[in-house]
C-alpha cells in the first residue's frame, strides 16, 4: 500500500477484497455501476451474440462496449469467429489481464476498422498456473501483448513460440502485475 497518502489509505479498505464485504466506515457504500449499452452498443451486442452463438457464457456492456464472457478453452475459437465472421473484428486493440486474486481474467478488446465497432471478450483463468491459447496466429499484435502478460501475470500462452521476457529482464523472479507482488521490499536491480 502506498505511504504517500495516509488519509486516502485509511479511507480505502484493503484492495482485492470483494466489493460487497467492504466495511462502509468511511464514505458512501460501494455502488456497483449499472451496465447499460447505448444504441450502437446494442446493435454490436446483437451481432456479437449471433456470431458467437452458444459460446457465450454471459454478456453485458457499457456505452458502446459490449462484452461477452467465454470459456477460456473456447476463447481462441470465439476470437477467430469474431475476426472472420460478419462482424469483422480485424484488430486486436488491447489485451490485458486482471488479477481478481481468486482468478485471473483475460480481457481482449477487439476493434473493427471497417465498421468502427468494439467488442470485449473475457475469459476467466484459474489463479494457479493460468494458461490460455495464444492468439498469435490470428493477430500479430498478440505476440507482444502475450509476452507482456506472461511477464507481469505469469499467464502461459501455449502457441506463442517466443515467451522470453519483454518488459522485465532475463531471470526476474515473480510476476509484478499480480496483487500478491509486494510494491516495496523488492530487490533493486
Amino acid at each position: 500500500m502506498t505511504e504517500q497518502d495516509p488519509k486516502a489509505a485509511a479511507e480505502a479498505p484493503k484492495e482485492a477484497a470483494a466489493p460487497a464485504e467492504k466495511p462502509a466506515r468511511h464514505g458512501p457504500p460501494i455502488v456497483i455501476a449499472e451496465e447499460v449499452l447505448n444504441e450502437r452498443g446494442e446493435q454490436t451486442a446483437a451481432q456479437l451474440a449471433s456470431t458467437l452463438g452458444t459460446l457465450v457464457l454471459d454478456s453485458a456492456g457499457r456505452e458502446d462496449n459490449p462484452w461477452v464472457r467465454v470459456d477460456a478453452k473456447e476463447l481462441h475459437a470465439a476470437a477467430k469467429k469474431c475476426r472472420d465472421g460478419e462482424i469483422g473484428m480485424d484488430m486486436l486493440n488491447l489485451m490485458l489481464a486482471v488479477d481478481w486474486v481468486d482468478r485471473i481474467q483475460m480481457i481482449y478488446v477487439l476493434y473493427s476498422t471497417t465498421n468502427n465497432r468494439k467488442v470485449i471478450l473475457k475469459a476467466d483463468l484459474p489463479a494457479e498456473s493460468p494458461a490460455i491459447d495464444s492468439l498469435t496466429d490470428l493477430w500479430e499484435a498478440a505476440t507482444w501483448y502475450e509476452r507482456e502478460t506472461h511477464d507481469l501475470f505469469g499467464v502461459d500462452f501455449p502457441g506463442n513460440s517466443d515467451m522470453s521476457p519483454l518488459l522485465l529482464y532475463e531471470g526476474f523472479e515473480g510476476h509484478p502485475g499480480l496483487k500478491s507482488y509486494p510494491l516495496n521490499d523488492y530487490e533493486e536491480w
Binding site: T2, E15, I32, E63, N93, V109, K118, L152, L167, K179
Partner: protein
C-alpha cells in the same frame, strides 16, 4: 574462379541500442545483417519499465493523472486527456463544455508539438540537422503557452476528472491565436525544407512498406496505420469531447512507406492548427469543473475508452472495485503496438533504412515500456 558461394559468409549480429543515437531513448534492436542488408530484426524493450500500471493501482484517481503525464512524455496532455476521459466514464460525470474546449485546444497543441518533435528528430535520424532546430523553436513557443496555462512545461497535471485544474488566463485566446500563426509558419518552413527534398525522398519513398491488412494485424494505429491507407482515426470514428463540433480532415496515405507516415504527420499539424482556430471561435464561457465533490469514489465496474494520441490510438481500460483507487489500469500504448510491425517493415532493407523506419514510427520509450 572463385565465386561468392565458395566462401563461408557469416551473418553479423549488430546490436543497436540501448545507447544508440537513433533509437530515441533506450530502445534496443539486434540486427542480423549481411553486409549492409538487414536479414532480421529482434527488438528488445523494457529498459524504461517503471511499472506505471501497477503503480496506478495504489494511487487515487487524481494521483494517477500525474503518472499518465509520464507515460508518453512528449504528448503529456493527450495522455492526461485519455485517462481523465476514462475516469469520467467510470465516475459518470461529464466535464463542462468550457473545460472540454480547453482540453481539446491543449491536446491539439500538444499534438502539433509532438509532431514537430517527430519531424525534427526524424530529420536528425536521416542526417539533416536544420529541421530539428525549426521544430524545437516552434515547440518551445507551444511549451511557453503550456507553462502559462498549466504552470509546467512538460509534466502538467492540469486535467482533472470532471474538468481542468484551473481556468485559462485572460490572455489565453489572443495568445493562442498569435501562436497558431507563428507555429503554422514554422511548420510550413519545415515542410518546404524537408518534404520534397530529393535526398529525403530517396531515403523515405518505398522504404519500410507495410500494407493495410498487415498493419491492422500488427495493431498499428495513428499516422503509421493511416499511411497504409486505413482511415482509422479515433477522433473521426469514435468521437469524443467536442470533436464532433469541429470541421477537420483526416489525411490518409496510399503506399504505407516512411514518407507517407512522415507526410501525414505534417498534414495533421495543419489540421490540428485549424481545429484549434475553430475551437477558439466557439470557445464558450462557463464553469471548468463538474459539480459535486465526491467524485473520487466511483461505482464498481469497468470502462474502456480510447482517444487519438499523436502516435495513435491510446486506450485506457479502467477497472474499479468501488474504492478511491483504481483496481486495474491498463494502457494501450500506441508506440508499443506500432513497434510490433517494426520487424515486418525492416526485413530486407538496409541498415540505414532500419533507422529511417524506426524513426518513422515515432516511438516514445516511456510509453512502450511504461
Amino acid at each position: 574462379m572463385t565465386t561468392e558461394s565458395q566462401f563461408e559468409t557469416v551473418d553479423m549480429m549488430l546490436n543497436m541500442g540501448p545507447q544508440h543515437p537513433a533509437t530515441h531513448g533506450v530502445f534496443r534492436m539486434v540486427l542480423k545483417v549481411d553486409g549492409e542488408k538487414v536479414i532480421d530484426v529482434i527488438p528488445h524493450i523494457g529498459y524504461l519499465h517503471r511499472g506505471t500500471e501497477r503503480l496506478a493501482e495504489v494511487e487515487t484517481y487524481g494521483q494517477v493523472i500525474t503518472l499518465f503525464d509520464r507515460v508518453d512524455y512528449i504528448a503529456n496532455l493527450n495522455n492526461e486527456l485519455a485517462f481523465v476521459r476514462a475516469g469520467e466514464q467510470i465516475m459518470e460525470v461529464e466535464a463542462p463544455e468550457r473545460a472540454q474546449y480547453i482540453r481539446v485546444i491543449l491536446a491539439e497543441l500538444n499534438r502539433v508539438a509532438s509532431h514537430l518533435l517527430f519531424i525534427g528528430t526524424y530529420a536528425i535520424d536521416l542526417g539533416a540537422m536544420t529541421p530539428v532546430m525549426y521544430g524545437f523553436r516552434e515547440r518551445e513557443r507551444i511549451q511557453n503557452l503550456f507553462e502559462h496555462v498549466t504552470g509546467a512545461r512538460m509534466m502538467h497535471n492540469y486535467m482533472r476528472i470532471g474538468g481542468v485544474k484551473a481556468d485559462v488566463p485572460d490572455d489565453f485566446v489572443p495568445w493562442v491565436r498569435q501562436l497558431i500563426g507563428e507555429v503554422r509558419k514554422g511548420v510550413e518552413e519545415c515542410d518546404k525544407l524537408l518534404s520534397t527534398n530529393e535526398v529525403f525522398l530517396g531515403r523515405t519513398r518505398g522504404v519500410g512498406v507495410i500494407d493495410g491488412p498487415t498493419a491492422i494485424s500488427c495493431g498499428l494505429t495513428g499516422p503509421s496505420l493511416r499511411g497504409s491507407g486505413v482511415a482509422y482515426d479515433v477522433r473521426k470514428d469514435d468521437p469524443y469531447e467536442i470533436y464532433p463540433y469541429l470541421n477537420y480532415k483526416v489525411p490518409v496515405g496510399e503506399n504505407g512507406d516512411c514518407w507517407d507516415r512522415y507526410y501525414l504527420r505534417m498534414l495533421e499539424c495543419y489540421e490540428s492548427l485549424s481545429m484549434i482556430e475553430q475551437c477558439l471561435d466557439q470557445f464558450p464561457e462557463g464553469p471548468i469543473m463538474a459539480a459535486g465533490r465526491r467524485i473520487a469514489r466511483p461505482p464498481a465496474g469497468e470502462v474502456f475508452s480510447h482517444s487519438e494520441n499523436p502516435r495513435g490510438d491510446l486506450g485506457v481500460y479502467l477497472v474499479s472495485d468501488g474504492t478511491d483507487k483504481p483496481y486495474r489500469v491498463k494502457i494501450r500504448p500506441p508506440s508499443f503496438c506500432n513497434l510490433v510491425g517494426l520487424a515486418t517493415m525492416t526485413r530486407g532493407s538496409y541498415i540505414a533504412d532500419a533507422v529511417a523506419i524506426l524513426g518513422s514510427l515515432d516511438i516514445v520509450l516511456g510509453e512502450v515500456d511504461r
